[in-house]
C-alpha cells in the first residue's frame, strides 16, 4: 500500500542557499510526525513544499500515491486535502470565527449556507470554541485564534494537516489549550506533520520524530530514540538545548 505522504529526495534552494538537500520521508495514515531543528534549517520550507505554497527544485512528493509535484496537479484541489495551520494564524480578519471556518466550505467546497454553518459549528465545538463562533479574530486570545485556525483546516476534511510552529506565537499559558486540541486530533487518527518546539507534545504525541539540520535529516525515529538514546551528537545537543528552553512548558 502507498504511504499517505512520501517525500523522495526533495531539493529546494533560494538563490545560492540550499534550504532542503535531499529530504526523504514516508508517513502512514494516522502518523504524527514531529519535525524539529534549528532556526533556518528548512522546517517551514519543508511543510510549504507539501502543499505547494513553495515549489521544489528537484525530487518528488506523493500524497496518497498521487504525485503532487507533477506539473498538471491542481494545487487548489491538493490544498483541500492538505490543511495548514500557521504560526501567525492567518485567520481571515474580516470574518468571525464561524465565518473563518465556513468560507472555505462555501467558496471552495460549494456548500450551502446552512450546511456549511452546521459543519463549521461541529468543528468549532471540536476545538472547544462553539461559544465564540461570533467573535472576530481580533477579539480572541492567541490560543483561541489558533484553535479557530485548526477548525478551519479540519473543516475541509483533509487527509493530512501541516502545523508550522502552531504555538510559537502564543503566551506560555495559552500553549496548553492548543497542544491539547492537537493531541485529541492525534488520538482521533488524524495524520499530522508538525513543526514545533513543544517537546512534551513531541514526546507524548509523536509517532515519529525528525531532526532536520541545514536542510538534511540528521536523525529520524521514535521520539524515545531521539530523546533518550540518540547516538548522534548533533541531535543530543539540539534536543538538550531546546528542552532547557521550551521543555516542560506544560504537563
Amino acid at each position: 500500500m502507498n504511504p499517505l505522504l512520501r517525500l523522495d529526495s526533495v531539493y529546494k534552494s533560494y538563490g545560492d542557499e540550499e534550504v532542503l538537500r535531499g529530504v526523504s520521508l514516508d508517513m502512514e495514515v494516522g502518523d504524527v510526525e514531529v519535525v524539529v531543528g534549528p532556526s533556518g534549517s528548512g522546517k517551514s520550507t519543508l511543510l510549504r513544499c507539501v502543499n505547494r505554497l513553495t515549489e521544489i527544485d528537484d525530487g518528488d512528493i506523493y500524497l496518497d500515491g498521487d504525485r503532487v509535484t507533477a506539473p498538471d496537479t491542481d494545487v487548489n484541489e491538493l490544498r483541500r486535502d492538505v490543511g495548514m495551520v500557521f504560526q501567525d494564524f492567518n485567520l481571515f480578519a474580516h470574518k468571525t470565527a464561524l465565518g473563518n471556518v465556513t468560507l472555505g466550505l462555501r467558496r471552495v467546497r460549494g456548500m450551502g449556507k446552512v450546511e456549511a454553518r452546521e459543519k463549521a459549528m461541529e468543528h468549532l465545538d471540536q476545538v472547544g470554541l462553539g461559544d465564540q463562533a461570533d467573535s472576530y479574530p481580533a477579539e480572541l486570545s492567541g490560543g483561541q485564534k489558533q484553535r479557530v485556525g485548526i477548525a478551519r483546516a479540519l473543516a475541509m476534511d483533509p487527509k493530512l494537516i501541516l502545523f508550522d510552529e502552531p504555538t510559537s506565537a502564543l503566551d506560555p499559558e495559552l500553549i496548553g489549550e492548543v497542544t491539547e486540541v492537537m493531541r485529541d486530533l492525534a488520538s482521533g487518527g488524524m495524520t499530522m506533520l508538525v513543526v514545533t518546539h513543544e517537546m512534551t507534545f513531541a514526546r507524548e504525541a509523536a509517532s515519529t520524530m525528525t531532526f532536520l539540520d541545514q536542510g538534511e535529516i540528521v536523525e529520524r525515529g521514535p521520539p524515545e530514540q531521539l530523546f533518550d538514546r540518540s547516538e548522534r551528537k548533533r541531535t543530543r545537543e539540539f534536543l538538550s538545548r531546546i528542552t532547557a528552553r521550551h521543555g516542560d512548558a506544560q504537563p
Binding site: R80, F92, V108
Partner: protein
Amino acid sequence: MLQALADASFGAVVLQSGDWGFVFENADYLLEGTLTTVLLTVASVLLGFLVGFPAGVVEVYGGRVLRAIVGTAGVVLRGTPILVIFFFGYFVFRFGGAFETAIVGLGLRSAAYQSQIFRGSIQSVSEGQMEGARSVGMSKLEAIRWVVVPQALRRSIPGFQNEMTIVLKDTSIAYAIGVAELLTLSRELFIQETTAVMEVFLFASAIYFVLTFTTNRGLDYLGQYYGIPTEESV
C-alpha cells in the same frame, strides 16, 4: 469676464437684505444647478470606481505588461490638469455633449486616483491573508475576491471620502465647457444682479459644504456599519 467679476465684487462689499431676497427668489435656479452638480459627482465617482477599482487590483496582481499599461495611463491622467482633460474631450475627441464630457473627464481622472487608493489598501492587507485563503484551496482569484478585497475595501473608505470631496468640488470646473452646474448658474445669477455676488457665493458655498458634509457622514456610517474589530480597536 474678469472685468465682470471685478465689477461684481466691487458692488457687493455690503451684504444687503435685498440681495438675500434675490438669492432666495432664485433658489430654485441654484438648486437645479445643485442637482446637476450632484449627478455629475455621483456619475463621475461611480465611473471612477468601476474603472479605478479593477485598475488598483491590476496594479497589485496584474502581469507586467498589464501593470505597465494601467500604471502609465494613471500617471498621465493624474498629471494632466482637469481643465485640459475637459478641453481634450470637448474640442478634440468630441464624443458627447458637455455633461457627458465632464462625467468622462472627471470619472477617468478619479479612476486614476482611486486606483492608487485601492492599490494602497490592497497592499496593506497582509500576505498571510492570501496564504490563509490559498491554504484552504482557494484559487488566487477567489482569495482576492473573498479575502483580500473585502478587507481592502473597508480600508479604502477614508481615502475614498477624500476623493469624493475632491470630485465634488472639481465639478465646478465643468463650467468652463458650459455645464449648467451649481457654480455656472451662480455666476449667471450675480451677473444679473451684481450687488448680490457675495450672497450668491455664500449660498453656493453653503450648498457645497452641505454636500461634502453629508457625503462624508454617509461614508463614516458605511465604515462603521461594515467595520470589523481590529487588533488596535480591541
